[in-house]
């Protein structure tokens, strides 16, 4: 019995397991198992010996060179061995010991193959152009989307150990409330003080607010800059280090003198010319003197969704302005975050904070039912973008798969035509492995070239998207071609090259080479296996296209419905802007006089139809839910409902054309000192007085003026405040004169004609009243509506573009398959015609090549789509993921497209003259 068959024979001990040797042993797995079992030990030992010898003789460099050579040898020989062991079972006839023409090493044969591949591509410009273009589009699109994904989802947050950072959300546990996150100052302080699981926590507040900045005392141009409020804990939690000076300390987390600010690096460079003595200088911020105590570093990013990745940062940071003792617990306008203690899990911390919150709720019982939820800060800031980006990445990958299928089809067709060439090569002595490598090299060269162009395309596309999708892709600001993205592109290129290369090479190199030399090239014609492979590819392409079509169709329909939603007000020809009155010069109660005068003067301007004001507009992204007590239906403590509170001027409803449903609007009766009144919207009437008439009823609410009882004098129509895709919430409106005004109000002006033209006059009007009150964020309400649908519009447009591309590619694929079949089977078709085959028979023959697989593909695609579209639920509005109409229309469309693509080749086949066809071979 031979030693290797003897189960009792001890196996020889392996070579000394150095690290290199172990790696070599691993790589040996590239060889087929029988070979590895026989020779693996010896090979490893030989390798180890060569390495040590090389190291001895020529040091490190020699070792590296030896490893390089060994790697090349291993890869090349393993490929050959695998290929040979395939066909060895078939009784290969060509001798494999024939020396290659130049006797060169592996690496130089690779160079040879590359040159040959390039020549081949140059000789077939049509094929190269089509394949190259397809790859460029496919890989370019993928690279673009992936760079967005990378910028938004894969990059870590720009803070110290970001995985320990959490967003602290104070949520309303009552059902039906939106998932707000805002917390009140006093609540936060109690939580932070009592918590053991957080090492640092802070609050920040910024809803796009700005501050007026004048340098020095009373001098310099006033400038409107973005400003935000932060507590000292924010810097501690984020691990921020100042570039100059210091950041806020815990004793500064309160309002009142001395007023300190921290400025951004950008502002320091821009306005103060990077003055190294900026620390200690004073500025006028909103009319108050404040001292600059520090400058932020250039890479500081404010922890909000809109600012996380963008270059647009708040320029002035001020300390939080709530008084721990006096501020109301229900004034929820702050965002909180914290850092988890080492070793504490998120769930543990959340449970602890929830316990503290429950304790607080018991202590201050007229608060609503509050709870605390924690989420990873990364999730909170960028998680919202995940569904859309994943959707886009999935869609664009489908497009690439379809593109690969097309190229594989093209290569299969070409491969079939090249079989005779390959047969000649093999007879001249080329080893099978060598042939395989040759074909793979062609595919890889094509893939790499196509992807290089694709990457160039992606650079342009990314730039376009950045300019275009300004507000809609905030997370993806800063998307570009960095190492990760380029690696992804390279991997895609190699993957696609190998995929379609192997698919076609397998086909081309398989058959008995000798037979091919004896037969004519189009003799029995199409190798049945290649034909089947092409039909399978058509099935796959059609299925994928259908999934994309249905997905795009859903989004399109959804967007169309969203567009037609009535926002509840009329945005045409309305311009809006914010005004911010400096606290220093407008003590409580005096703001209203300013606004009254402004409304009068503005209404008198030529071209103005109506003027109004409110503390916040619909679709502003802001909200303010105050607890209310209905006198007729008192609620239990802990179960106090809340309704959106708005302070509006008399002319507000008329300016926005919000219809009145019952009662009356505000008028001059509702002045300061008169009976407190309120208007409510229909949603509030339905919620709290279902089936009753709410006029004349009363309720009290907390918030700015606790305990003030108001009588309802009218009901207005609902507004879509939170977004066109969200229903209206209960809202109530109080007249601006009847309560202390907000220092910042939004003013709306309806113009008779173009609203933009009114802006200069409006600015003048404001300046006449007070030159130090600037007007900021001017915009038209039409723009506001447009930007609310901008994100759905962008993703719908992108997905629709991908679906169209996929459809086009599938049609090209179908056309190609049929066209090639007709070409290959010209003789056969001619014979059939000569034998009397009717048109119908011919049609059946040809269409079975394309329509049969297309129908199978459609069936497959429908099934897949039915499952896959469930993932889209969150992005749809007013349309079900399995909308029956779409699931009927899309397949019909695709079938029609397949028929259309089959049309030209079919016509060509019909035009074949039997006589000519029979002569043609």
């Amino acid at each position: 019995m031979r030693p290797e068959d003897d189960p009792m024979a001890p196996t020889p001990a392996g070579p000394a397991p150095g690290r290199l040797a172990r790696s070599y042993r691993l790589l040996l797995h590239l060889y087929p198992a029988p070979f590895r079992r026989r020779f693996g030990d010896d090979m490893t030992e030989l390798f180890a010996d060569r390495c040590s010898e090389a190291r001895r003789q020529r040091g490190r460099a020699g070792l590296v060179l030896a490893c390089w050579r060994a790697l090349g040898d291993l890869l090349g020989q393993a490929a050959s061995e695998r290929w040979v062991s395939h066909t060895a079972l078939r009784g290969a006839r060509s001798p494999r010991l024939v020396r290659p023409a130049t006797g060169a090493s592996f690496m130089s044969t690779v160079a040879q193959d590359v040159r040959y591949a390039l020549r081949g591509l140059r000789n077939q410009p049509a094929f190269t152009a089509v394949a190259g273009l397809t790859l460029t589009l496919g890989i370019g699109a993928n690279t673009t989307i992936f760079s967005l994904v990378e910028a938004a989802l894969l990059r870590p947050l720009p803070y110290a150990t970001p995985e320990r950072l959490v967003r602290i959300r104070s949520v309303d546990l009552r059902e039906g409330k939106s998932d707000s996150a805002n917390i009140s100052g006093p609540d936060f302080l109690d939580l932070a003080r009592a918590s053991r699981s957080l090492t640092a926590a802070g609050v920040h507040g910024w809803t796009g607010g700005t501050a007026t900045l004048t340098a020095g005392a009373g001098g310099g141009e006033p400038e409107q800059v973005p400003a935000a409020r932060v507590s000292s804990g924010i810097f501690t939690a984020l691990g921020t280090q100042p570039a100059l000076g210091r950041l806020f300390g815990p004793d500064e987390d309160r309002p009142g003198p001395p007023d300190v600010v921290v400025i951004s690096n950008g502002l320091w460079q821009r306005r103060f010319a990077a003055d190294p003595r900026i620390v200690g200088r004073t500025l006028q911020v909103n009319g108050t003197t404040a001292t600059v105590v520090g400058v932020l570093p250039t890479d500081f990013r404010f922890p909000e969704r809109d600012t996380l990745r963008s270059a647009h940062q708040p320029d002035v940071l001020r300390p939080v302005d709530f008084d721990p003792k006096a501020s109301s617990r229900s004034g929820r306008y702050l965002h909180a975050l914290g850092r988890l203690r080492q070793g504490v899990s998120l769930r543990t911390a959340e449970a602890e904070l929830q316990a503290i919150a429950s304790h607080l709720a018991r202590q201050y019982p007229d608060d609503s039912e509050r709870g605390v939820r924690l989420a990873g800060l990364a999730d909170d800031l960028v998680g919202g973008a995940r569904p859309v980006l994943v959707l886009l990445l999935g869609a664009v990958s489908c497009v690439l798969l379809i593109a690969c299928a097309n190229i594989a089809n093209l290569l299969l067709a070409r491969g079939t035509a090249r079989r005779s060439e390959l047969a000649v090569r093999a007879a001249l002595g080329a080893a099978r492995g060598r042939l395989l490598r040759l074909l793979l090299t062609e595919s890889l060269v094509l893939a790499l070239a196509g992807s290089a162009l694709g990457v160039a395309l992606a650079v342009v596309a990314i730039r376009l998207l950045a300019a275009w999708g300004q507000g809609q892709l905030p997370h993806a600001a800063g998307a570009g071609l960095d190492g990760v993205v380029l690696s992804y592109s390279l991997a895609l290129a190699l993957g696609t090259g190998l995929a379609f290369g192997l698919a076609s090479a397998h086909q081309s190199a398989q058959p008995e080479l000798g037979d091919d030399l004896r037969r004519g090239t189009s003799g029995g014609g199409v190798a049945p296996r290649a034909g089947a492979a092409r039909r399978v590819l058509v099935v796959a392409e059609v299925a994928l296209s259908l999934v994309l079509l249905i997905g795009a169709g859903l989004l399109i329909e959804s967007f169309w419905r969203l567009q037609r939603v009535d926002p509840g007000f009329s945005p045409e020809r309305v311009v809006a802007f914010e005004l911010s009155l400096p606290v220093a010069r407008y003590p409580e109660g005096s703001e209203n006089r300013f606004y009254e005068r402004l409304y009068q003067r503005a209404a008198a301007l030529p071209g103005v139809e109506a003027v109004g004001g409110a503390n916040m507009l619909p679709l502003s992204g802001d909200y303010s839910c105050d607890g209310i007590q209905i006198d007729d239906h008192p609620a239990l403590p802990g179960k106090i409902p809340c309704a959106e509170a708005r302070s509006v001027s008399m002319g507000y409803f008329r300016t926005l054309r919000i219809p009145l449903a019952a009662g009356r609007l505000f008028d001059t009766r509702d002045a300061d000192g008169s009976a407190p009144v309120a208007l409510i919207n229909r949603a509030m009437a339905r919620r709290f007085w279902p089936g009753e008439n709410p006029l004349g009823r009363t309720f009290t609410y907390e918030g700015r003026e606790q305990g003030n009882r108001r009588r309802i004098v009218g009901v207005v129509a609902d507004l879509r405040h939170f977004g066109l895709d969200r229903d209206a919430e209960p809202e109530f409106y109080t007249p601006q004169p009847q309560q202390p005004s907000y220092h910042t109000m939004t003013v709306v002006v309806r113009a008779a004609a173009d609203p933009g033209r009114l802006l200069p006059a409006l600015r003048r009007t404001v300046a006449e009243l007070d030159p130090l009150v600037p007007l900021f964020r001017p915009r038209t309400l039409s723009e506001t509506i447009a930007s609310d649908v901008a994100a759905p519009r962008l993703r719908t447009a992108i997905l629709a573009a991908f679906a169209a591309l996929a459809l086009l590619l599938a049609m090209v694929g179908i056309y190609g398959v049929l066209s090639f079949t007709v070409g290959q089977r010209t003789r056969e078709i001619g014979i059939r015609k000569a034998l009397g085959a009717s048109r119908r028979d011919l049609l059946r023959l040809l269409l079975s090549q394309t329509m049969a697989p297309a129908l199978v593909g459609i069936a497959l695609g429908l099934a897949t789509a039915a499952l896959a579209t469930r993932a889209l639920k969150g992005l749809l509005f007013g349309v079900a993921p399995t909308d029956p109409m779409l699931f009927t229309v899309a397949p019909a469309l695709l079938a029609a497209a397949a028929l259309l693509a089959s049309y030209l080749p079919t016509r060509r086949a019909a035009a074949i003259e039997p006589r000519v066809a029979l002569q043609s071979e």
């Binding site: 001990a13 070979f35 020779f39 090979m43 040898d73 020396r99």
Partner: protein, 130 residues
């Protein structure tokens, strides 16, 4: 493992031989060798002219085994290395035949007038060349 070709198969179908194959046959003509011994033998004899890597060596061995040029012999400890049992290889009569035919071919090549002229020319510059 495939059965080797019958001994009456035509050796000329295998010519010209790859350099490594010829070297292995030459080594084995001097007696049985194990893989390691082949390497050192060839390295010594050819002075590094033939590149030997584990991959191409063992693959060539496998093909030579398949074609019947060599066979495996019993495994036994190698006295010149450690005591591990090693695979030994032995040349077959067919292998000898093929090696001989290759030698004949090479001699015929060297006898050609053009080649002789090249060698004489070279020898004029480098008398050490034989």
């Amino acid at each position: 493992m495939k059965p080797p070709l019958p001994p009456f198969a035509d050796p000329h179908r295998l010519l010209p031989l790859k350099p490594l194959v010829l070297e292995v046959l030459l080594s084995l003509l001097g007696g049985e060798r194990h893989g390691y011994g082949l390497v050192s033998d060839i390295a010594e004899r050819s002075g590094g002219a033939v590149r030997i890597e584990p991959g191409n060596l063992y693959r060539s061995l496998r093909v030579m085994l398949d074609l019947g040029l060599i066979v495996e012999s019993d495994r036994r400890p190698a006295p010149d290395l450690d005591d591990q049992r090693r695979r030994y290889y032995r040349i077959t009569p067919f292998g000898e035949l093929v090696a001989t035919e290759e030698a004949v071919r090479l001699r015929a090549l060297l006898s050609q007038a053009g080649v002789r002229r090249l060698l004489d020319h070279r020898a004029a510059f480098d008398p050490g060349l034989d």
